[in-house]
């Protein structure tokens, strides 16, 4: 067995401490998921039995079948969520990439103030601005459309995306821009052929955070700006399992897991672009 380098060598009690720490935090974060998954496997009657049993007896995946029947529009909700998030992510990227490049590379009057303003916007949560936004949407006559959920989503996600990508782009050596400029490339050509490919890991991070952010924030926008069932996204759709008499907990949990599946798949594919060391060999460090 090869010895790790001295700096990576730990005593046995240090190792125990490290793993104990990891275990505590991981179980804290993952326990709800485990519990949720186990609930989705249990028949509803078992959920209210006393004493409560953590491990499901005669568990089955029945809830994953019945959930489609009890809320027939559920597939549509998943699609809506996915659709809104994809559009939001695309629009955010299209706007943020050139903006971040400009903030990272050009010196112009007010760039600092503008960046600070973006940060300030981020400090307002969407909820504070719900009523003005509602009035705005109503004046434009776009309430109860996808548009009403997409536009505020984009607006609230742009600031952090700009900050994130700008920082990444600032790490790309400026000599690359200068070399391209000397070779006759325009700013746009440089952005497309030189900066974009190198910034791909950064753009991927922005895409993932934007996608997740959009998935998470839909709830409040959908609840306020939309009353049409067919446009409702997943988080609102889950309310359909809250019946008048009872909450169908097992189906609700099953639906939650099915609902986040598309997002997980998208992130799984995006993370392939998260390769580091893309700038190796560009300049002598």
């Amino acid at each position: 067995m090869s010895q790790p380098a001295l700096i990576n060598r730990y005593r046995w009690y240090e190792l125990v401490g490290i793993y104990a720490g990891i275990f505590v935090f991981l179980s804290f974060i993952l326990a709800p998921f485990v519990e949720g998954f186990l609930v989705s496997l249990k028949p509803l009657s078992l959920l209210f039995s006393s004493p409560y049993r953590f491990w499901p007896e005669n568990g089955s995946f029945a809830a994953y079948r019945t959930m489609w029947v009890s809320v027939p529009g559920f597939a549509r909700y998943i699609f809506n969520s996915f659709f809104i998030s994809i559009i939001v992510t695309t629009v955010v990227l299209a706007l943020v990439v050139p903006a971040a490049y400009a903030f990272a590379r050009f010196r112009f009057r007010g760039s600092g103030a503008l960046l600070a303003a973006f940060l300030a916007v981020n400090m307002f949560s969407g909820a504070v601005l719900l009523i003005p936004l509602f009035r705005l949407m109503r004046s434009f006559g776009v309430l109860n459309t996808y548009f009403a959920m997409i536009v505020p989503g984009v607006a609230f996600l742009i600031p952090s995306a700009i900050w994130l990508l700008r920082t990444y782009m600032m790490r790309i050596p400026r000599e690359l821009d200068e070399a391209a400029f000397v070779d006759g490339a325009s700013h746009f050509y440089t952005l497309r052929r030189v900066i974009l490919p190198i910034a791909m890991p950064g753009i991927t991070v922005v895409a993932i955070t934007t996608f997740i952010g959009s998935y998470a924030q839909q709830f409040i926008f959908a609840l306020t700006f939309n009353s049409k069932t067919e446009y409702m996204p997943l988080p609102v759709g889950l309310f359909a399992y809250f019946g008048r008499q009872e909450v169908v907990w097992n189906e609700l949990m099953a639906a939650s897991f099915v609902g986040i599946a598309p997002a997980v798949i998208v992130i799984f594919f995006l993370q392939r672009y998260l390769v580091s060391g893309l700038t190796a060999g560009a300049v002598k460090q």
């Binding site: 391209a180 000397v182 070779d183 060391g277 060999g281 560009a282 300049v283 002598k284």
Partner: protein, 377 residues
């Protein structure tokens, strides 16, 4: 084809004057090296010629055309950066082809040009690799390849070898000199390394604090430095400076006194100098053991034995001036033991109070074969 004129070029950063009216003419096909200590403005001057930095005042003229407001491509220059500035996601081929892609050159012509450049730089086996897989020297060659495919009128090099290790630097120096002869293009090269300057340049421009201290062929700067700055900057180890008093001025030269000894330094005389304090310069390599026209007894405190040479460092009395002598490798000296060193008057340089040199009586054609014009003989 690549002739460059700088006319009273000035550069201010805010109120700080980086370049103070630089006047320079670079002839077609010349290899000119800008050299100077860091912060002297040499890189800024190069970036201004390239079009990466604005010129505050003055004109940059390439082939009789004022180019101050033209982008780099339209100036007909190509630049090689200190940090190589390669595009890491592109292959060597695409890196070299980049300027041609920008021009939208047809694929076949582009391929031929890139392959031609790669052959010159011995990169033909590496065309499909990415920069990350190359060694430092190869990366630098790719950067040079990107410059030569465009066939610019003027090549600009910004300290291109300073990131390489010593052995590779020596190799690349020779390659660059060869390349210059092969391409016959005008090249302007910035460095702080005087060895690079001396070995590659047709003409060296020594910059000091934003001004040209002297322009001349390498050996001219070595043998006839115009001032104490150039005298101290060119040559390694540094020239020794001794404070002397001017006794008299005659046609034979200037008679100076140093600690009771006198010697006549064969320089072009200037009147009204008698009694003035002057600076005598002597290069460490011109000092020998024994006596000379001036003889100094010194006690070296440190001795460096380099094999071919022995370098002795001593202090000259109270003024804190260091005295350095480069002696033969087998010199019989020891640290902390007094040794007599001699200086020949003919090897000496003489500077006035302002550091301006008295012209030495040295025929440059006797020293540098390159300056010897057979047609004139």
């Amino acid at each position: 084809m690549g002739q460059l004129n700088l006319k009273k070029v000035q550069k201010f950063y805010g109120t700080y004057e980086v370049l103070k009216g630089v006047e320079l003419e670079v002839r077609n096909g010349e290899f000119v090296v800008f050299v100077g200590p860091s912060g002297c403005g040499k890189s800024t001057l190069l970036r201004m010629i390239a079009g990466l930095d604005e010129t505050t005042a003055g004109d940059i003229v390439i082939e009789g055309k004022r180019v101050n407001d033209l982008p780099p491509v339209k100036r007909g220059i190509a630049m090689v950066f200190q940090s190589y500035a390669l595009y890491p996601h592109m292959t060597v081929f695409e890196n070299i082809a980049f300027p041609l892609r920008v021009e939208k050159m047809p694929e076949e012509k582009l391929k031929a040009k890139v392959e031609h450049a790669a052959r010159i730089l011995h990169l033909d086996q590496r065309l499909q690799q990415k920069p990350g897989m190359l060694s430092g020297g190869q990366r630098q060659r790719v950067a040079i390849g990107r410059a030569i495919v465009r066939e610019p009128k003027i090549f600009l090099f910004d300290e291109p070898l300073s990131n390489l290790d010593a052995a590779l630097r020596a190799d690349m120096r020779i390659e660059l000199a060869k390349l210059h002869r092969q391409l016959k293009a005008t090249m302007i090269y910035v460095t702080h390394d005087q060895v690079e300057a001396m070995t590659m340049a047709d003409r060296i421009v020594v910059l000091n604090a934003g001004e040209i201290a002297q322009t001349g062929a390498p050996l001219e700067l070595y043998h006839k430095p115009a001032n104490t700055f150039v005298a101290g900057f060119i040559g390694n180890p540094k020239m020794n400076f001794l404070p002397v008093t001017c006794k008299s001025v005659s046609d034979a030269g200037v008679e100076v006194e140093y600690k009771g000894q006198t010697a006549i330094i064969p320089v072009m005389p200037r009147g009204g100098m008698a009694g003035a304090t002057l600076t005598l310069g002597v290069r460490p390599e011109h000092i020998q053991i024994g006596s000379g026209d001036l003889t100094l007894a010194v006690t070296p405190s440190v001795i460096e034995r380099l094999g071919a040479h022995t370098v002795a460092y001593a202090s000259l009395g109270g003024e804190g001036e260091n005295y350095c002598a480069m002696l033969p490798g087998t010199a019989a000296i020891r640290a902390d033991e007094e040794v007599r060193t001699g200086i020949r008057a003919a090897d000496c340089h003489l500077f006035d109070r302002n550091g301006i040199a008295f012209e030495r009586r040295v025929e440059m054609t006797d020293i540098d074969m390159a300056l010897f014009d057979p047609a004139a003989a």
